[in-house]
């Protein structure tokens, strides 16, 4: 638009030096010509896409917004032609909080708000100080207490009642927090010069990366109980959490290894030359640089860890996906799967998109 305006200004002055470009090559028309109709093939493609969009978008808008039902009952929805968003409206609290007792649902809500606040605070790299780390530790403890209860007059809630979005968040946040140090240790082990340690780490990493997460979840749900001595049991959520941690750690390890390899050899040698031992060398010289390099791919691992928590559906944990499924298998709301799935796809999309655009921004900042 600004280009169009400046053209007009120029034309008022009618300066001889300022020969105005032909109207068809600047401004909106120019932009359209340049980007959509430059050449016969592109013109055909543009027209074809426009045709398809015209065929698809209006019916979709019609289905999703114009003829849709928002607050009706399931029976009314069956009559309507459009989307039935009422399935979300009527079951919103179950989809989000699952079995968490109705009058206590403010607790996971507060916990999630706390988590989002912490994430937002951590976004700015200027805040990356010790105090932020303490804030995270305190935050995670408060979140745990809010969920579990049993203190400050909060009634205790069995972990079997943790479900919905809080469970998804819990599995991914704790999964990442625990997998990260483990991954670093594994990466260091894989770069180690000691053959036994190196091969142990290589075997672990390759073994885990070679199998699907679902097989680890199966292991945690049907096989792991047999590994424990008689009488010792670990609850289902924790077992799944361990499987997710072990799985994510292998991927973190590979990412960190990439960072370690990117540090020039001179840095290692310089650190040794000034007499630092292995621990100090890694802690003070190598890891701070290596971890900075790998921040963007680490966010990538975090995103897939977040998406992968949805796999716990298969071992019957009630995460966000499972609560949604159980809603749409209620006979009152049967037949509206598309609406419900689109709704939670939107939740997943917003979270993942926020993380991935953050990682891209960070990448640009770090490149400078």
């Amino acid at each position: 638009m600004s280009e169009v305006l400046s053209n007009n200004n120029n034309s008022i002055h009618d300066d001889a030096d300022n020969v105005k470009p032909p109207i068809a090559s600047v401004g909106i028309i120019g932009w359209i010509r340049h980007n959509l109709f430059n050449g016969p093939i592109n013109s055909i493609i543009t027209l074809a896409i426009l045709y398809i969009l015209w065929k698809v978008v209006p019916p979709f808008v019609n289905w999703a917004f114009i003829e849709s039902m928002w607050t009706s009952s399931g029976a009314e929805c069956q009559q309507a032609d459009g989307a039935c968003w009422s399935v979300i409206y009527a079951n919103f609290r179950f989809i989000i909080f699952g079995f968490f007792p109705h009058d206590q649902q403010w607790r996971p809500l507060v916990a999630m708000i706390l988590l989002v606040t912490l994430l937002l605070c951590s976004q700015n790299r200027n805040n990356w100080k010790k105090s932020l780390a303490y804030a995270w530790i305190i935050g995670l403890v408060i979140m745990g207490l809010l969920m579990k209860g049993g203190v400050l007059g909060l009634p205790p809630i069995e972990s079997s009642q943790w479900s919905g979005l809080p469970l998804t968040m819990l599995l991914s946040v704790f999964g990442m927090v625990a997998a990260y140090p483990l991954g670093i240790v594994l990466a260091l082990g894989r770069r180690s010069t000691m053959p036994a340690i190196k091969s142990l780490c290589v075997i672990y990493i390759e073994l885990i990366r070679g199998v699907p997460l679902i097989s680890l979840l199966f292991m945690s749900s049907v096989m792991f109980p047999l590994f424990l001595p008689e009488g010792l049991t670990i609850n289902k959520i924790l077992r799944a959490q361990i499987a997710i941690i072990l799985f994510t750690a292998a991927y973190v390890a590979e990412v960190v290894r990439g960072g370690l390899q990117a540090i020039p050899k001179g840095q290692y040698e310089a650190a040794e030359a000034i007499g630092l031992n292995y621990y100090m060398k890694m802690r003070l010289i190598i890891l701070p640089q290596a971890l900075k390099v790998v921040i963007p791919p680490t966010v990538g691992v975090l995103i897939s860890a977040f998406k992968d928590t949805s796999l716990v559906v298969i071992i019957a944990l009630y995460d966000l996906l499972k609560t949604t499924q159980s809603t749409i298998s209620n006979p009152k709301w049967m037949g509206f799967s598309a609406e419900a799935y689109i709704f939670i796809a939107l939740i997943y999309f917003v979270c993942c998109y926020a993380m991935s655009s953050y990682s891209r921004r960070l990448e640009r900042e770090l490149d400078k």
Binding site: N35, L36, N38, I45, T46, I49, L182, V185, L188, G189, R190, T193, M194, P195, A196, I197, L200, I203, Y204, E206, L207, G210, V211, P212, L213, I214, S215, F218, M219, M223, L226, F227, P229, E230, L246, A249, N277, Y278, Y279, M280, M282, I303, K307, S310, L311, V313, I314, L321, Q325, G335, S337, A338, Y341, I342, I344, A345, F349, C352, Y353, S356
Partner: protein
């Protein structure tokens, strides 16, 4: 099963022991400790398991593999019935997994390349649509996508009696897509043989063409001629066999269509979900690969007088592929591993069959081990192949 991961942390703390300053001896000490710890933990878990199994008198071992499976499998590439053994049932599962992985990989590469190129298109609309596609499909869990497509398939498609009938011999129902296939005929075997002969011919043709180009500098249109040979040989065989054109057309009989080929909704949903999801990642890889080849390269090639097709074939692709192949492999491996999600929507892949086996025999450890071994085999064989391929590409570089 897994080595204890935490032990490697020992490598961090050698210097915390001040009185032992010989790094070599220290290294040996730590490695031995690590191995012992792993062995102890391994033994501990093993003995627990052993004790648990014995105390509850649960059967162990792979003896069950030879027993009659006595469950039916929905779709199978080889003939299978409930009277066959567990081993055969599991093999059917492996084949089903490979089938979905193979078709999925082919389609993913095609779709991913197309979208990756569309993302770089100078057409704004196309490039934006590709960008939206990439973001949306990358950021929604693949399992959710599978559920979505599966629900769409069985909720919106009609029953066989009201099948959608878009063209002759093709029916679309909530039991899947049923379509006519050529009636099996002995000539098909000869067509296959002709095709193999064609492949061999193309191989030698290529060698000859390269040699001739090296010697005389004249190029030979290898691609066009090869395509002709590969398509032509089976066609000739077919014509020679009297051109049998009988089709095995599906007919509605009883509850379902009989005859023809069938793509079940489970397979369709799994394939669609996996392909759409993975293609979004592949598109990004392809885009990055193409962008990694600097513009100067194609300009230089042009100034040498190469034709556009040759520039792509000889200059751009070899360089782009070197960037594309490693992440592409890991994505395609992801697709293979993600095909294990079939269990959630009822496609009888290996994990699903193994799961049923665990259930029937109660032998969870053996079952989970089998799942892991099979997928490890897929992954490791792919890695070996990729390492070989990377080495080959690296040689070309010098």
């Amino acid at each position: 099963m897994q080595p204890e991961p935490i032990d490697s942390s020992i490598s961090i703390k050698p210097e915390s022991i001040p009185f032992w300053n010989d790094p070599d001896k220290r290294a040996i000490f730590f490695q031995v400790t690590a191995l012992i710890v792993v062995a102890v933990i391994g033994y501990y878990l093993f003995s627990n398991t052993q004790a648990n199994l014995e105390r509850q008198s649960i059967a162990t071992g792979f003896g069950f593999m030879q027993k009659e499976a006595s469950f039916e499998i929905g779709e199978s590439m080889i003939s299978y019935s409930a009277a066959d053994t567990y081993a055969k049932a599991l093999f059917v599962g492996v084949l089903n997994s490979l089938k979905v992985a193979f078709i999925g990989i082919v389609l993913t590469v095609i779709l991913g390349t197309f979208i990756g190129i569309a993302r770089l298109s100078s057409n704004w609309l196309m490039s934006k649509l590709a960008a939206i596609y990439i973001e949306v499909f990358q950021d929604v869990p693949v399992l959710l996508q599978l559920f979505f497509w599966y629900a769409i398939f069985y909720e919106t498609l009609p029953s066989p009696r009201q099948a959608i009938h878009p063209m002759d011999g093709v029916f679309l129902t909530n039991r899947g897509l049923v379509f006519a296939v050529p009636e099996s005929h002995p000539i098909h075997k000869y067509m296959l043989i002709a095709f193999i002969i064609g492949c061999t011919g193309v191989f030698f043709l290529k060698q000859w063409a390269r040699k001739r180009q090296d010697e005389t500098g004249r190029s030979f249109p290898v691609i066009r001629v090869s395509a002709l040979i590969l398509l032509g040989m089976p066609c000739l065989a077919w014509l020679a066999g009297g051109a049998p054109s009988a089709m095995n057309t599906p007919v509605l009989s009883g509850f379902n269509f009989v005859g023809g080929a069938n793509i079940s909704p489970e397979f369709g949903a799994l394939l669609l979900g996996l392909v759409l999801y993975t293609a979004a990642f592949v598109a990004e890889i392809v885009r990055a690969g193409i962008q990694s080849v600097s513009h100067g390269q194609s300009e230089a090639a042009m100034s040498l007088g190469l034709k556009p097709g040759m520039i792509l074939h000889l200059v751009i692709l070899p360089q782009a592929l070197r960037v594309i192949i490693p992440p592409l492999t890991s994505q395609l491996l992801n697709l293979t591993k993600n095909s294990s999600l079939a269990i959630a929507i009822g496609y009888p892949d290996f994990v699903s069959v193994a799961n049923t086996t665990i259930n029937q025999t109660g032998q969870a450890i053996e079952g989970v081990c089998l799942i892991m071994v099979v997928y490890l085999f897929f992954s490791l064989s792919t890695s070996v192949f990729m390492n070989w391929y990377n080495k080959k590409m690296a040689l070309v570089e010098r």
